[in-house]
Symmetry: C2
Subunit: 212 residues, 2 copies
């Protein structure tokens, strides 16, 4: 089936939203935790968190246009820190629920039955239910001119993960803690490992990585 730009434009809004959100492939599932200057916490689900670099260790995510109030954005800009927390299969329904539009004075932590957890270093709250958690400092942002979305860039300040999921080479087996993946806007997936492949070199086919 082929769709041209003209045909895509003519699709029903909700159909187009589902289609275009699906077509990029599987996405990460993360809760981003923030706090405002009056210590009011906020947590929201994002499917756009990406790796930007290992040294320095950088991550980013996409904010929708701030033409309406976005607490996540306002808190990051005023306080300068945020947390990224993996969504695990045992609380993905609560994580999804953070996308509801709660009144201004309600913290999604309370409304969605998630718990805050704090470190000494980062003022932003972590999600206690998550077992892979990253504390970041805001460092830069880029406004996509074509639609006013914003790439937020953060520098990793600290990391938390269960010792039993890290392999000898630093790789994290996220399937062991059931980190979920997202398809489209609202579909949750459990990724099952197929293989790790050796570093690709021109004169040989990649072989499955042998690990102990």
């Amino acid at each position: 089936m082929k769709l041209s730009l003209e045909q895509i434009k003519q699709l029903d809004d909700s159909y187009r939203k589902n289609l275009i959100n699906s077509i990029s492939g599987f996405k990460s599932a993360n809760l981003i935790g923030t706090i405002d200057e009056e210590a009011k916490t906020n947590v929201a689900i994002f499917n756009s968190v990406i790796h930007l670099g290992a040294s320095p260790a950088l991550m980013g995510f996409i904010m929708r246009p701030v033409s309406v109030r976005r607490h996540t954005y306002e808190n990051i800009r005023s306080v300068g820190f945020f947390t990224i927390n993996h969504v695990l299969e045992n609380f993905f329904v609560q994580a999804h629920q953070t996308s509801a539009r709660y009144p201004e004075n309600v913290s999604e932590f309370d409304a969605c039955n998630l718990s805050t957890e704090f470190s000494d270093l980062i003022p932003a709250p972590y999600v206690k239910e998550s077992s892979v958690k990253i504390g970041l400092e805001y460092i830069e942002e880029h406004r996509i001119q074509a639609n006013d979305t914003i790439l937020i860039v953060g520098k990793i300040m600290e990391l938390f993960f269960p010792r039993q999921i890290v392999d000898n080479d630093g790789f994290l087996s996220l399937d062991k803690i059931s980190t979920v993946a997202i398809g489209g806007l609202d579909a949750y997936f459990r990724p099952e490992r197929v293989a790790r492949l050796a570093y690709a070199k021109p004169n040989r086919q990649p072989s499955e990585l042998i690990r102990d």
Copy 2:
């Protein structure tokens, strides 16, 4: 297990690369196809393709610093178009192999046993083996100051997908064609669907989406 910024900096390079590449969660697996002004084709695997917006339909991906030659980047800038093609489980080994450093005059299509396919609209080559394919026009880029990586933004010009994977509401069931997900740098996963959840509203818990 907790790692501070100082501890992360002191990790062995390869360990840090595996760890920091794993910690963002699951990532999309795509082949990006390009062509140069002399019609030489290029294809490379990326795990950083992201959704940027549905209307206009925009996608982006992260290019590593162009301090060394990157054919994907040069071709996109000189020709103005590129394709994004889902990596499916039946050719993920060939897709991984495109990351090997082949000599300048070798097309990864030939070296990795992948086939080109062309549309009337986009000069860049599609990957024939893939069944979800997107043709894009380059529209803007943003250089992340912290590490010189580049966010490339493209506008979707045309889309191809199998009719049998699109639901009535536009959602694509990518598990039906075995689109893979990536963990870290080199791990491939088969996502199994857990649930689609209804749009979240403040006064009810999300329920599983009923579809026909």
